[in-house]
């Protein structure tokens, strides 16, 4: 029987090709993601591990803030210079270097353009000391104020040479200088821009604190282990410092990177999973058709004495072959994909050339597990159907497949649908907590999706027939035949459209949520944006006090409301506390209070948003004990509760105090954003011009009017939206391949019919049109179901997210219509090859085919 499986597989190479392609694409995405994230992980951990000094001493912090919140406050914990000498005196320490290292910097060239990346990797400023990992390749080390050494990748990228002027912008001021040297790193450069100055300048101008360091790095003497040195240093310094060995540093770095990467990896794997799920439909259809075509042959095998199990196994063996071949190819393509991504990001300045592609043991295991399992699962139903073929089938006239009985299936589907819609309705009317509402929503999504998959065949009869209603009138006999052909095999049409439905349901849901978010933000901005301009830094870093002073001096500016951030822990969970100038906040951001008022905030109390208050059981008067990064602890009283702002889902909620209160606990927090109100009667264009002049030297600061602000939010939402669409495209492509597959197999099945049509005078063009029209019907049917489902999910999702400030429901009809039109075009595209094949069929050959 194994031989028959292989022969059959080889005999149907062409028909297997599209299924193989579907497996290939899914597996390639899975393995590509795994290889790429493993490679990044190893590369970054390697860099972090090898750049770390033998032992590193840092001021102790109360907790480690989330990576993305680290730069918000602009606080830089420091230790006194005396520590360096203390450490140097410890036995086994060969050298101790006081280190000044700052992340919240901007380096600009002579045109005031940033040298470093504006997104992603940071720009670091550091003092120069003898570090074995850093190599001067040009010029000399910085020795006095005004001398700057730059890393080679940034210099090349921005075409900067020795002698070129540069300026380093810090939260406290700016430092002009000239490039005197260029360096490379032993371990490569993952996209960071590094600027070195001499230690005194670093302390005085970058850090703004002479005689302070941000840390101490230690080279141990030969023969002294890192842990031994660490223990001795700890003993010498006492409490108040964190002392870490090279190995611990590497481990921490690895943990941070992998926790960040795992989010990305999981998201990518989610999309890969979706692609694989869609692929199942395609494979299922292929095998169903192969089994149907081979009914007589399989009947003959049964008549000759093959058992049911043998027939089942023979079909599954073919599936196994398909899975193994698809997985192998997919693994190869996935590795290629990862290599491509690696070289792509090197164009963005992330140099990973030092690290080879990492193919962990999980990758091939996952690739084959996914590829083979998916094919076997997809082929199981058709295989079982094959095993049920009676030996009599061999003797019967060419099989006319019996009308499938869909009764039980339809009942099950209807039950699921009612359950799904009920759950979705429950989710959208349930206003207690996000957890239960989310659970209801998730259940509703799964149940309604399953319902439509189960109902697929029955629905395809009704919907496709309905959609095709205008066909006979518009396209005549050809249209009528297309319409009838499309509902001829409801199971097949259902599965083909189902694949498209799944991918487009997500498109629909995401589109609704994104549009609702944009509208909510818009409305929110209209309600709360009282300032004429808002100034903020690029990336999540403060803009610095120097800017504040310059802006205050602009004529026509009536009020400048400052906002600063501090990171704190409440009951062990991190939150970001915002401090504002209470005198002008009402006019700058028009807070929407549910309870209390700005006066309460001014009085030293804290404001929290309603969603967070409900979740944490807080009301006006409740005490909250906040633990700040620098070790200070403050017990504040809740004085006001606000409406949740749009997108308030940020972990920890939205918390606000007066600037004075914030300064008490985080005295070193820097100005993060400025809200400007112009004086009444001031000339807006003059103020605008004044702003432009004042900020010319600060490219890290962005000025936004209300309209700009809205646009930037919309832009961010759109970016995420397009990214999601791009990732969904993979599933959509596989779904369209499914349509191609179904059509191609249908054309082969209907060879004689097409021959007959051609014989009695149907032209080639008409035969082609017939196939294309059928394809459009199937595609639009799938799109319609998917978008309908997606709309339901999106609407329910919006209601659930009302708790997080997405208060407006907006349905993007243009997007939805565009997707429908796109589906029709995809249908036409899918039909190109099958239609040509059908049209080119030779009449006599087709009639003679049995």
């Amino acid at each position: 029987m194994f031989k028959t499986s292989i022969r059959n597989f080889l005999a149907h190479k062409g028909r297997m090709a599209l299924s193989t392609l579907a497996v290939l694409l899914g597996v390639a995405f899975v393995s590509g993601t795994l290889v790429f994230s493993d490679t990044i992980n190893v590369a970054f951990t390697g860099i972090a591990g090898s750049t770390a000094a033998d032992v590193t001493i840092k001021p102790k912090q109360a907790f480690t803030p989330e990576v993305e919140d680290r730069g918000l406050s602009g606080e830089t914990p420091t230790l006194p210079a005396g520590v360096v000498a203390k450490v140097a005196a410890v036995q086994g320490v060969r050298a101790a270097h006081g280190q000044v290292s700052l992340q919240n910097l901007t380096v600009v060239d002579k045109d005031d353009k940033p040298v470093g990346p504006t997104t992603g990797a940071p720009t670091l400023g550091q003092n120069w000391y003898d570090d074995p990992q850093v190599h001067l390749v040009q010029g000399h080390a910085p020795t006095k104020a005004g001398e700057i050494v730059l890393d080679q990748a940034s210099a090349r990228h921005k075409d900067i040479h020795l002698g070129d002027p540069l300026r380093i912008l810090t939260p406290t001021g700016s430092m002009p200088g000239t490039v005197v040297g260029v360096v490379t790193f032993t371990t490569g450069n993952p996209g960071v821009t590094m600027a070195y100055v001499d230690t005194a300048t670093a302390q005085a101008q970058l850090l703004g604190k002479p005689d302070q360091f941000t840390g101490v790095t230690v080279d141990t003497a030969p023969g002294t282990g890192h842990t031994t040195a660490q223990e001795r240093i700890k003993a010498a310094l006492g409490d108040g410092y964190s002392v870490a060995t090279k190995e611990e540093q590497a481990q921490t770095a690895a943990q941070q990177i992998s926790s960040f990467l795992s989010v990305v990896t999981l998201a990518l794997l989610g999309f890969a999973g979706l692609a694989v799920l869609v692929g199942i439909f395609l494979i299922l259809n292929t095998f169903a058709m192969l089994v149907a075509q081979r009914t007589r042959e399989l009947g003959l095998l049964r008549a000759l004495g093959a058992g049911r199990g043998q027939v089942l196994r023979s079909v599954l063996t073919e599936a196994l072959l398909l899975g193994v071949i698809g997985s192998t190819l997919g693994l190869g393509v996935g590795i290629g994909l990862a290599a491509g991504l690696k070289s792509l990001i090197s164009d963005f300045g992330v140099d990973l050339s030092g690290t080879a592609l990492v193919i962990g043991p999980v990758t091939p295991v996952a690739a084959y597990a996914v590829g083979v399992l998916v094919t076997l699962v997809a082929a199981y139903l058709p295989a079982r159907r094959a095993a049920r073929i009676s030996p009599m089938a061999a003797l019967r006239e060419a099989a006319v497949p019996a009308e499938p009985r869909l009764g039980r299936r339809t009942v099950l589907g209807a039950v699921l649908l009612v359950a799904g819609l009920g759950l979705l309705y429950g989710a959208s009317t349930h206003h207690a907590t996000i957890v239960t509402a989310g659970a209801l929503l998730g259940g509703g999504i799964v149940a309604s999706l399953l319902a439509l998959v189960v109902l697929g065949p029955a629905l395809s009869r009704v919907v496709v027939y309905g959609l095709g209603a205008p066909y006979p009138a518009v396209f005549g006999a050809v249209g009528r035949m297309s319409r009838l052909n499309a509902v001829r095999n409801p199971r097949r049409t259902g599965a083909t459209a189902g694949a498209l439905m799944i991918s487009l349901s997500l498109v629909g849901a995401v589109a609704v949520l994104a549009a609702s978010l944009t509208t909510s933000v818009d409305r929110d901005v209209d309600n709360t944006f009282g300032a004429d301009y808002v100034l903020s830094g690029n990336g999540a870093t403060p803009i610095g006090h120097e800017v504040t002073e310059k802006v205050r001096a602009i004529p026509g500016v009536q009020a400048v409301t400052r906002q600063r951030y501090a990171v704190a822990h409440l009951n062990g969970f991190q939150l970001v506390l915002s401090g504002v100038d209470v005198a002008t906040v009402d006019q700058a951001v028009k807070p929407q209070y549910v309870a209390g008022s700005t006066a309460d905030v001014a009085a030293g109390k804290v404001m929290v948003d309603e969603t967070t208050a409900t979740a944490d059981g807080l009301r006006v008067g409740s005490p909250v004990e906040l633990h700040f990064l620098n070790g200070k602890v403050g017990t504040l009283t809740v004085g006001a509760i606000s409406k949740p702002p749009a997108g308030a889902g940020k972990d920890g909620g939205s918390w606000e105090v007066s600037l004075d209160t914030l300064n008490r606990f985080a005295p070193e927090a820097q100005d993060f954003a400025l809200y400007l109100n112009t004086a009444s009667g001031a000339d807006r264009s003059k103020v605008q011009a004044g702003l432009e002049t004042a900020l010319a030297g600060y490219p890290q600061v962005t000025v936004q009017s209300q309209a700009d602000y809205k646009k930037s939010i919309t832009g961010q939402v759109d970016t995420v939206l397009y990214l999601v669409y791009a990732l969904l495209a993979l599933a959509i492509v596989i779904a369209v391949l499914g349509v191609v597959n179904t059509l191609a197999l249908s054309v082969i099945e209907r060879t004689r019919e097409i021959g007959l049509l051609r014989a009695i005078g149907t032209s080639r063009a008409q035969v082609g049109r017939m196939v294309r029209l059928e394809s459009v019907l199937i595609a639009v049917h799938g799109a319609l179901l998917g978008l309908g489902l997606g709309l339901a999910w999106g609407v329910a999702g919006q209601k659930v997210l009302e708790l997080y400030g997405i208060t407006a429901l907006s349905i993007p009809w243009t997007t939805i219509l565009a997707v429908l039109a796109g589906a029709a075009v995809a249908g036409l595209a899918a039909a190109v090859v099958p239609a040509v094949k059908a049209a080119r069929m030779r009449v006599l050959g087709a009639i003679a085919t049995s």
Partner: protein
């Protein structure tokens, strides 16, 4: 060759289809197989011609060439006044649609369409309205009035073939080609079909060319052409089943001798 039979007719009639020196060969050089060897045939309007011959004699090839389904290697074919050997696929398709009707041995109907839709299919494809009076008459003649809404799977083999006949006639083609139309039917259903074909020639003035190996079927024709090895070896006017059988026996003998 047809002067004798032409003389027996009361009125001279025009030619519905004609082949001159029609040759069809497959392959080339040593593997060249000649299926039709310079065949001359003429079918007059309103005539029912049967083509007989052993398998491999070229009778199906001759019909396919005459009907514009297959291309000739050399020679000329005329349907009415149209020379078809040089027509491009598009024109040829139009010609089949408008001037030719077909009845095949099996698989004659589209399973998705009803009987009536199958009958009017060639006109629907052409985008023409059927001539209702004529259509009713054709449907009446084949006795299908009660079954027009049925799908092919709901009809017996004989009924399906009657639908096919009705389709072939409904568009009033210049000529109908039937390829073993009774080959898959029992003798009663076969007789019905043949009677109907005869009737359409006598009553409706249809021209029919039928390929068959059944002497009884051939006896319904006005004239039988015998093919062997790609050549017309004989013809028999006003055939009866016996005379055809008789001729076939001799012909078999002749075949064996050669």
């Amino acid at each position: 060759m047809s002067t004798a039979t032409a003389a027996t007719r009361a009125t001279p009639r025009t030619i519905a289809a004609r082949a001159e020196a029609l040759t069809k060969a497959y392959g080339s050089g040593e593997t060249r197989v000649v299926a039709l060897d310079a065949v001359d045939v003429a079918v007059r309007q309103g005539e029912f011609v049967a083509i007989m011959g052993p398998s491999g004699s070229g009778k199906s090839t001759l019909m396919h060439c005459l009907a514009g389904l297959d291309t000739a290697t050399s020679g000329q074919i005329l349907i009415g006044d149209t020379e078809i050997t040089r027509l491009k696929d598009k024109k040829l398709t139009q010609l089949r649609r408008d001037k030719v009707g077909f009845i095949f041995q099996a698989f004659n109907l589209l399973p998705t369409l009803t009987a009536l839709e199958n009958i009017t299919l060639p006109m629907d494809i052409a985008g023409r309205k059927p001539d209702q009076v004529w259509l009713d008459r054709v449907i009446d003649t084949v006795g299908l009035s009660g079954r027009l809404k049925h799908r092919p799977t709901e009809l017996s083999g004989g009924q399906q073939q009657r639908v096919a006949c009705a389709r072939a006639l409904a568009s009033r083609p210049e000529i109908v080609f039937a390829d073993e139309p009774t080959g898959n039917l029992d003798s009663r259903a076969g007789a019905e079909i043949l009677g109907f074909l005869r009737q359409s020639v006598d009553g409706l003035g249809q021209t029919i060319v039928m390929v068959t190996h059944d002497p009884v079927a051939a006896s319904y024709a006005d004239r039988v052409l015998f093919l062997a090895d790609g050549r017309i070896v004989d013809e028999l006017p006003e055939p009866t089943a016996d005379s055809v059988l008789d001729r076939m026996r001799r012909f078999d003998g002749a075949g064996r001798r050669s």
